[in-house]
Amino acid sequence: MSIQGIFEYIDATRSSTALRESFYVFPIVEGAHVVSIALSVGLVIWFDLRLAGWILRDQAVSAVFRPIRPFMLAGFTLSFITGGLLFWSLALRCYGSPFFWAKMIMLVLAGVNIAVYHLTIDRRQTEWDEAPFPPLQARTAGVISLILWVGIITAGRLMAYFL
């Protein structure tokens, strides 16, 4: 089955139609998606800014990251669930939206950025945890993350506008 075929299949399911046409559930899911951005991106930016060496320089990187992580992860979980539901209800229109694909590509890149960070420079974090300005590779990871999240929110908003 082609990608388009899969999207068409999803779009034609009963659950997709029901969600798309529901009077209350769809707006609630959209509202929750916006709130989840504040919890996820709204919190990850502080870690990114610390990694970049822009704020909270007197605090260890781990001291910023560790306590924020559970709240951030809750936010991202809510984002993915509500985003997944929105996609499910509008699969065919997503397929035809260049902003949808831009958003997906940037989400994958954000995932790659996180994976590279944790598998490389983060392994030696104890060496630079207290440094006001982390090593270049860590600072770069922070800046890339900030740029990607701005891009993801932008593409997401444009997608909804042109759908």
Binding site: P27, E30, G31, V34, V35, I37, A38, L39, V41, G42, L43, I45, W46, I55, L56, D58, Q59, A63, V64, P67, I68, F71, V150, I153, T154, R157, L158, Y161
Partner: protein, 160 residues
Amino acid sequence: MWDSLYPYFLWIENTHLGHGIRESKWTFTLSEVAHLLGLTVLLGATLLLALRLFGFVLQGKSVASIAREVMPFSLAGLTLTLLTGTLLFTSEATKCWGNIAFRYKMLFLFLALIFQFTGLQKVARADEQHFSPLIRKATALVAVFLWFGVAIAGRAIAFF
């Protein structure tokens, strides 16, 4: 009272600015994007401060010094959101006038702005011992409730 405001809303919508934004698709759309980005920073800053007031994060640093670093981001986010929000409003003022979610949003916004620059600022900038933990937590909850109220009511405008 709200009814008597209608002529003003109509006037705003018919200004050059209102016409201009309405007719330029990209100005409107980019304002919406910037509105959401500004909001994300503002809500994120409010959340971080609230989590610190609860003692969940960054306990090694005083609330006041975190507020000093985070407040500029709140202000930048707030400024961007208010500016773009005004542009969006100008382009469809009469639609907003008739929208119940918009009225709730303005009520929340009014209260949130007052609280941001009175209660929240006072508690966040004070010495740790100056306010009881209960007051600090209540302040955090009120700030989060009011700003998220603005965001949720704002999202709801599109559904009425």
